[in-house]
């Protein structure tokens, strides 16, 4: 493991061949796909929905022209990247972001242009991305909390699922959404406490514990669903968590419905991302947590209780992920069903790695997933000639390209996964 003497030669400030290849590839795809293979015609985007106070006109773009413009911009971006590399300059931080954004817009216009849709609701696309991302964001925040303190959390899936289950049960029993959300958080904490019991106290391999806990929760909730819930459906009818539009703000075109017409879980998500980011990077607590995850012994030698920090963090992470699980039974659908998290916890795991163990990174990585997933649905709804299975691959393929190209080697907290033994 890296010691304090790790040399600076591994610094990754410099652009490498891989990134360059990706810029080249992006520009080439742009040129061929958006330019030469443009489906032509126009692509229309609806910016407001029929119920909105302020109606915006349809945004219509000529596909071919837009395609060419984007292709040229992409080529310019790639050329700039090559030039920077050649003259050994550091590429400005915004370049990859803008390049990627342009590429995504290009793809979007191209796809809409080649679909049978008369118009795509941009708003629906964006709000949907956020909704699809929501449980993932909570899950990955839970993961970030645990991993930042040096505990690998593979059990996100289990935390979400038990959170969903507990919200259904707690909500049905208490009849209140607050009761449901508290139960969900407790559910997540329950998974976390098993994780800490085995991984921190008994030092069992953290990955084993995580993997096994997922199976455990799946089995337990499935069993209780088949026995407890199927005999008493009253235990599985939680109250609903309503959306609350913030008066005034929610009427802002696009942004209003996107950001200011959310459920409590939605607002809380933004707060959680911000608070956790601030907490991790700007507070004493965060400094200590990160130290424990990077170099527990160093933390120990300055009087920080490593294992206590880890336990608390994993528990807190469990509460966050569990709370996210309540989205399933309080917002998404009105009752619990078997394995309803359907692998979201694993995507959340990918998102937190993709987001480089940073709350904001994890948020945007989840959003990218949500976006790609919803794009698939929005396009297929209108009808397209691309087989549904290929559209379904979209989020996954985009992620592979993103991690292989733009992100590359990401650095985990150095002590992540290693039990801490004094001395």
């Amino acid at each position: 493991m890296s010691t304090a003497t790790a040399s600076a030669t591994g610094a990754v400030h410099v652009m490498n061949k891989r990134a360059l290849t990706l810029y080249g590839l992006g520009a080439a795809v742009g040129l061929v796909l958006f330019g030469f293979l443009s489906p032509g015609g126009t692509a229309s985007f609806r910016l407001s929905s029929s119920g909105d106070a302020i109606q915006l006109p349809l945004l219509t773009v000529p596909v071919a022209a837009a395609g060419w413009i984007i292709a040229v911009l992409l080529i310019a971006g790639a050329a700039y990247a090559f030039w920077s590399e050649k003259s050994a300059r550091r590429l400005a931080g915004w370049v990859p972001a803008v390049f990627a954004l342009l590429f995504v817009i290009g793809i979007l216009i191209w796809l809409v242009g080649s679909s049978r849709a008369s118009a795509i609701s941009l708003l629906s696309l964006l709000t949907g991305s956020l909704a699809l991302a929501l449980p993932m964001v909570y899950g990955s925040l839970g993961g970030v909390l645990a991993e930042r303190s040096g505990v690998v959390n593979i059990a996100i899936e289990g935390q979400l699922l038990l959170g969903a289950f507990a919200a259904a049960l707690g909500g049905s029993l208490s009849g209140s959404v607050v009761g449901a959300m508290v139960s969900a958080a407790i559910g997540g904490v329950a998974v976390s406490s098993l994780l800490t019991l085995f991984a921190v106290k008994y030092r069992v391999n953290q990955i084993i514990v995580g993997v096994v806990l997922n199976v455990f929760v799946s089995g337990l909730t499935g069993f209780l669903f088949g026995t407890l819930f199927s005999n008493n459906s009253g235990l599985n009818s939680p109250p609903r968590l309503p959306s609350v539009a913030i008066p005034g703000l929610s009427e802002i075109p696009i942004l209003g419905p996107l950001l200011f017409d959310q459920t409590a879980l939605g607002y809380l998500m933004f707060v959680a991302v911000g608070v956790l980011w601030f907490g991790l990077y700007k507070t004493r607590w965060g400094l200590r947590v990160r130290a424990v995850g990077e170099h527990p012994k160093a933390a120990d030698t300055v009087g920080i209780n490593v294992n206590r920090t880890r336990v608390l963090n994993v528990l807190l992470g469990g509460a966050v992920a569990g709370l996210g699980g309540s989205f399933y039974t309080l917002v998404s659908v009105s009752q619990f069903s078997r394995d309803m998290t359907a692998g979201t916890g694993f995507i959340a795991l990918a998102a937190l790695i993709f987001g480089r163990w940073n709350p904001i990174g994890a948020f945007f990585a989840s959003l990218l997933f949500g976006f790609a997933t919803n794009l698939q649905y929005v396009l297929s709804q209108a009808g397209t000639d691309v087989p549904s299975q290929f559209l379904a691959m979209l989020p996954y393929v985009i992620t592979i390209f993103a991690v292989a190209g733009l992100v590359g080697a990401s650095r985990a907290p150095a002590a992540s996964g290693q039990p801490y033994v004094k001395g």
Binding site: G226, V403, A412
Partner: protein
């Protein structure tokens, strides 16, 4: 002798057989409590608990004991059966279940040893199954040749999918956990797509099912028609032996372990880490791919979207339980096979939801991995402290700790 991370068996020995047995007992007790607590007879008996408390206890005991007895009859030996065949059939079912699980787990284990956390056995298995199925129904060849081609095909399919991960990882440093999770979904969608096209769809069917593979492409049944156990089991055993040799005796295995434990030192010693990373994933994928052939050409005969079931995920647990050691993995796979087989019987015989198996199974893994917990549950004193060791860092842990390249 090469180093071996303590295997499941070693753990058994080290933690003392007693503790292991107690771990299993503890897991069954927890499961039993769940079964009893949700059992209707038990719950109805609790309504008059204070009048006749023994009724409740008896009902609870019965509920749990019946379930577990059924599980035993389904997984090991059916003492209720009238014929010898029926008596030993459960054991063969256990082996049948264990067959695909075994090779898939070996794949996960090999990757672990190279420091790679392979969550992708699921996708690799699917690719293997697609190749095996396609070769199985399109070609018309004589038996051993055809089957051999099928096995090779499944190896090729899995190896491609695994190798892709290894290649991207080695080239770009992308985290293999992300890559494998994503490729699982891609494989699943690819399968769904191909099952809806003439490539793999059964002619005349609109369901996403492949044609049946030819008889010559099937693993023959080992013990005759009465049993599902097929030659694939022996192939899996052979694969276990091969992997044992690979990891403990071969120079390639040495390289894999070296890269997995300390890639810097490995590189300094002249080991080509790029090659080893790719090869380890190729081997991992090949083994998982073989599980695909075991599924289609051993038991199912045709391919559907659910061919991988949860084998790829169970494989992770099995590999970890077996401490990534081929012999440990072998026994862990048998244990899991027994759970699967026993769970089916338990459900049919007693109506206990099969999910309870997952609960007991996962508790066993946890308890076995934490002997001190079991000792404290049963109030046993701590054993004499063993010589302190540097905490063994598993390759797998190093793997998630990041794509340091």
């Amino acid at each position: 002798m090469s180093p071996e991370t303590p295997s499941f068996i070693d753990r058994l020995r080290a933690s003392g057989a007693v503790v292991s047995v107690l771990a299993i007992v503890a897991a069954f007790i927890v499961g039993g409590i769940l079964i009893a607590a949700t059992d209707e007879k038990t719950t109805s008996a609790t309504t008059y608990f204070f009048a006749r408390p023994l009724d409740t206890l008896a009902a609870a005991w019965n509920a749990a004991a019946n379930s577990y007895a059924a599980m035993f009859r389904g997984a090991v030996f059916n003492y209720d059966a009238s014929t010898f065949t029926a008596m030993i059939k459960p054991l063969t079912e256990t082996l049948t279940y264990a067959t695909p699980l075994l090779t898939a787990s070996l794949g996960v284990a090999v990757a672990f040893r190279a420091g790679l956390f392979n969550i992708g056995a699921q996708g690799q298995l699917i690719l293997g199954a697609m190749f095996a199925t396609w070769i199985g129904f399109t070609l018309d060849l004589a038996w051993p040749v055809h089957l051999l081609l099928v096995i090779l095909g499944s190896i090729l399919g899995g190896a491609l999918w695994g190798g892709l991960v290894g290649w991207i990882k080695a080239r770009t440093g992308a985290h293999e956990v992300i890559l494998t999770i994503m490729l699982n979904y891609v494989a699943l969608n690819l399968l769904a797509y191909l099952l809806n096209t003439p490539v793999l769809q059964r002619p005349g069917s609109t369901n996403p099912v492949s044609p049946q593979v030819n008889g010559s492409a099937m693993y023959p049944e080992l013990l005759g028609d009465e049993f599902r156990l097929h030659l694939g089991f022996l192939v899996a055993v052979a694969a276990t032996a091969l992997v044992w040799w690979l990891m403990n005796r071969s120079t390639l295995g040495f390289e894999i372990k070296a890269v997995g434990s300390n890639r810097h030192a490995a590189r300094t010693a002249g080991i080509n880490t790029f090659k080893v990373t790719v090869l380890a994933m190729v081997i991992a994928g090949a083994l998982a791919g073989m599980a695909g052939a075991a599924q289609v050409n051993g038991t199912e005969r045709f391919l559907t979207e659910s061919v991988a079931a949860s084998i790829g995920f169970d494989a992770i647990t099995v590999a970890l339980l077996g401490r990534s050691n081929p012999i440990g993995v072998f026994f862990a796979a048998l244990l899991f096979g027994a759970f699967r087989a026993g769970g089916v019987t338990m459900q049919v015989a007693t109506g206990t939801p099969i999910d309870i198996v997952l609960v007991v199974q996962s508790l066993i893994v946890l308890f076995i991995a934490a002997p001190p917990l079991v000792r404290s549950i049963f109030g046993l004193g701590q054993r004499k402290k063993r010589k302190p060791r540097t905490p063994g860092r598993d390759a797998a842990v190093a793997a998630t700790a990041g794509g340091d390249k």
